[in-house]
Symmetry: C2
Subunit: 207 residues, 2 copies
Amino acid sequence: MARRGNLFILSAPSGAGKSSLISALLNDKPADMQVSVSHTTRAMRPGEENGVHYHFVDVDEFKALIEQGAFFEWAEVFGNYYGTSRITIEQTLDRGIDVFLDIDWQGARQVKAQIPDAIGVFILPPSRAELERRLRSRGQDSDEIIAGRMAEAQSEISHYGEFDYLLVNADFDTALSELRAIVCAERTRLARQVEAHGGMLDDLLAD
Amino acid sequence: MARRGNLFILSAPSGAGKSSLISALLNDKPADMQVSVSHTTRAMRPGEENGVHYHFVDVDEFKALIEQGAFFEWAEVFGNYYGTSRITIEQTLDRGIDVFLDIDWQGARQVKAQIPDAIGVFILPPSRAELERRLRSRGQDSDEIIAGRMAEAQSEISHYGEFDYLLVNADFDTALSELRAIVCAERTRLARQVEAHGGMLDDLLAD
């Protein structure tokens, strides 16, 4: 029997560098890691691919999936539906593939409630000054807008204690190697190794 | 405040390659990792160094340490005392140094009972045939002696389920990099990071 994949929940305030870390981790397209792909009813845009950027479905399909309880969470935004499919994730995990879920603390809490062995990783900027610098460097915004972003970031950060691991993204390469270490280490956890090597254990312990 | 060190318990049947893995891990003498050094009352041998190979103490000192409850475990072997000092380990952990404890499943159980956040890593040979080969290659021993070693190894292996991580030492470099990943990942666990970065978290969340 193959080991089951691990489900990683990655959360962070904006400005922590989460997207860059996930991109770098999956850069060389490892066969045993995938970002979770959401479902949406919005139209496909040029350059987008079904099953890669989103699972594109029509409204009837989406509503049927809601009825089936297929989603961890879903929302309607400007008339389009978006959702995270529990069934898709479970099927990917069953194939031995680690799944990375890029969601906020509220989504993280919902997923944890449904998949208790999901592994939560929270990513932090190294300081308030650096966070403010990163929030500022995104454009020529007013102090008021920056203050709003800072308040939003702080609200997200205040939930760090609900996660299993905490990464401090002071140096990008260090944070990336820590993230890789977490992914590797979690694969050697007792439960996963017993799934992967049950036959070997039987062999070692046979009379 | 500095992060506290992690206590790693490493156990394995003989023939799994545990000693080689520990040596390789600590080969370049990292400042933040140490093998736990036992106390003994036996005489120092040529080439041995106090505090490196053992803490050499006399019988009165050793008995005083027993009285103080300083040991996780101790034993008398051929008139000499040997013990693992809880106090020495705690002091090393307090200095932010990870400590590696090379003990069998019985010792592991005793330590876990006293330091519940100790992290247990069990190392396995990749197959029964390979284990037998490794047990054989140690000398020109009779089948009876090999069978005895195999039974002892199996008895140790039967306790794998009491550990947090399971390493399969099929390829040495892979097992070593997995062990390194576990050590790195455990440092990014929530509790350790809050110890290490409490000030930063206060700064990020300040009004």
